[in-house]
């Protein structure tokens, strides 16, 4: 019970702090928080796949890229208003995930991991090679128009903040429900023991496919927000490194735990900013920190607990 209280209190404090953030922080830090928010969306969506269902997906950036490029192409070529491309980005990323999943999702553990790394690389190289003359090659696509929300053009980090963190809040709400539902339970059952899950009536193949497509589609929508924030998309934003970052966010915070994953997003995306003083050594410190934290807390900083109906 006390743990529940602590969690609730932490959630309230966090929500208040985030509401106040754009008013009290400098533009630079609000911009950092916007980036953290987009990473949080990616990490929360990967958490469904990796944390809840236990599928080793180290190519999440590929689906992020498909969404971002879908938005970039639709806005710059067809003049579609940016936020209206959200469903298209989700659909494109989801369909691509389904396509990838059919041959790949039956693979186990580390085989799946390396294949998703491969899919990520193939997508990045495809973008560099300007597939279908749509992606602009190594330079990418620039001049993506700013989004409008309620007639207001969102241009500054402060203006984008409510959009991005509103999306994060909605994602937390929806994924929290999902996690507590029968679907969430089935995912965890698949992760814990696939044979037992199937033997308890869970259509494990469908559960794996559904969560992979859903998580990937969500990453696609994060891509839309990324395009809105940057106004430029290029292949280098969607490399292996991005997938690794999101992967570590999920596991550092605690796979399967929403507060843990948020914490992971803040630490992995935000802390290097705090370490700017260390200059070129900051990634060294980051690598060391990953090792130390896994040795000290192998289950993550804020792990999921099995209790009640979870």
């Amino acid at each position: 019970m006390t743990r529940g209280l602590v969690a609730t209190a932490a959630a309230v404090v966090f929500a208040l702090a985030m509401t106040a953030a754009p008013f009290v922080l400098s533009t630079y830090w609000v911009d950092v928080l916007d980036s953290v928010g987009i990473y949080a969306l990616l990490a929360l969506s990967l958490n469904l796949i990796l944390g809840e269902a236990g599928l080793y997906d180290m190519g999440h950036a590929a689906f992020f890229a498909v969404g971002a490029y879908t938005t970039a192409i639709l806005t710059t070529r067809l003049g579609v208003p940016l936020l209206l491309t959200l469903p298209a980005a989700a659909l494109a990323a989801g369909l691509f995930a389904a396509l990838v999943a059919l041959p790949v999702l039956r693979l186990r553990g580390d085989y799946l991991l390396i294949v998703t790394v491969g899919v990520g690389e193939i997508v990045r190289i495809a973008l560099v090679n300007d597939v279908g003359s749509l992606t602009g090659g190594a330079n990418g696509i620039f001049g993506i128009p700013r989004p409008f929300l309620f007639g207001l053009k969102l241009r500054t980090p402060e203006q984008l903040f409510p959009l991005i963190w509103g999306a994060v809040a909605l994602t937390i709400l929806v994924f929290h429900r999902l996690s507590a539902s029968r679907f969430g339970r089935q995912l965890r059952a698949v992760r814990e023991d696939e044979v037992a899950a199937e033997g308890s009536g869970v259509n494990t193949a469908r559960a794996r496919l559904t969560v992979f497509v859903l998580g990937s589609a969500w990453a696609g929508m994060a891509g839309t927000l990324f395009a809105a924030k940057m106004t430029v998309v290029s292949p280098e934003s969607f490399g292996f490194w991005e997938s690794v970052l999101v992967f570590t966010m999920v596991l550092l915070g605690g796979a399967g735990s929403i507060p843990g994953v948020l914490l992971g997003a803040f630490l992995v995306a935000g802390l290097p900013e705090l370490f700017r003083g260390l200059a070129s050594a900051r990634m060294l410190v980051f690598g060391l920190a990953l090792m130390v934290m896994m040795v000290v807390r192998p289950g993550g900083l804020w792990p999921r607990r099995a209790r009640g109906a979870s």
């Binding site: 294949v115 190289i125 596991l251 060294l284 690598g287």
Partner: protein, 301 residues
């Protein structure tokens, strides 16, 4: 025909490098079920150590030729092996019984740490092996001139693999490694010292990877601190392709990938060169979900 021979020898040389690096991944995976992401950085370390020795005023002139190169290779192999053992001690041993994904993150952390340590140690810019260290002679083979260094790389990697094969199949320690790879708990029950096996694997694998790094430096001249990720990923792909945990599989997978990449970039598309390995992987896993020589895992209830 001439072009083909060039591409095949080139593919075999790069394949030999992939295979040597893949052996390190596959042996560690075999005994610990761990993807040692930092293995790619040990490979890079080998390349940089070779660079440092060759450019040092005192040692460079003696190590650059003939028997000197052999000595250089031994030096590099020894130092990288020690680094590998230290890595195991610091990053992996504390996580031996932890959830598997924690070890994956620790391995990623070790990889990031080492990569940035390399950058801080040798600088962020590419380094170039000294010209006089790079053999430029070529031999005529089937009417085509093939660089000697390329043939040497192929022969050295084959020789190292043969030595490893003998070690794994003909020595007591090698047999213990295979036993642990098959079933760690059963091996322990049979009185095999698992810790000793893990230590051995973290010496032999990095030694081979370090030599592979040196060979890349000698062949292509240019080295950079991030090369471990691309070579490492492809070598790991080779290990999976052959069937992870399987020593002959890693060798086969390495050569196969090297050839596919070399021929693919020559005859299909050079722009897609770095994607070829992964395309081959996906196609092979479609047909054989556990790799070419991987065991067939029967679903057991």
């Amino acid at each position: 025909m001439e072009e083909l021979l060039q591409q095949v020898t080139n593919g075999l040389a790069i394949g030999g490098v992939y295979a040597l690096v893949a052996l390190g991944y596959t042996m560690v995976y075999g005994v610990l079920r761990l993807i040692n992401f930092a293995h790619g950085e040990l490979f890079t370390l080998g390349a940089y150590l070779g660079f440092t020795f060759l450019t040092s005023a005192a040692l460079g002139p003696r190590l650059g030729t003939g028997w000197g190169l052999l000595l250089l290779a031994l030096l590099v192999a020894g130092l990288v092996a020690v680094s590998g053992a230290l890595l195991e001690r610091a990053a992996y041993r504390p996580l031996r019984e932890a959830p598997r994904l924690s070890a994956v993150v620790s391995a990623l952390g070790a990889s990031i740490f080492l990569q940035n340590a390399l950058m801080l140690g040798w600088g962020a810019r590419f380094q170039v092996y000294p010209d006089e260290a790079l053999p430029t002679s070529a031999v005529t083979l089937g009417g085509t001139r093939v660089p000697v260094v390329r043939l040497a790389v192929i022969l050295v990697s084959l020789a190292l693999m043969a030595a490893l094969w003998l070690f794994v199949n003909r020595t007591k320690l090698g047999t213990a490694i295979r036993a642990v790879a098959l079933d760690r708990d059963a091996a322990r029950l049979c009185g095999i010292d698992v810790d000793q096996v893990v230590r051995a694997v973290f010496l032999v694998g990095p030694a081979l990877g370090g030599v592979a790094g040196l060979m890349v430096g000698l062949t292509y001249g240019q080295i950079g601190f991030t090369m471990g990720w691309s070579y490492g990923m492809k070598a790991f792909t080779a290990a999976i392709l052959g069937g992870i945990g399987n020593v002959p599989g890693a060798m086969l997978g390495g050569f196969l990938l090297g050839l596919a990449e070399s021929l693919g970039s020559a005859y299909v598309s050079s722009a897609w060169k770095d994607a070829i390995a992964f395309v081959v992987l996906i196609v092979v896993l479609l047909v054989r979900p556990t790799g070419i020589l991987g065991e067939r895992v029967a679903e057991k209830a």
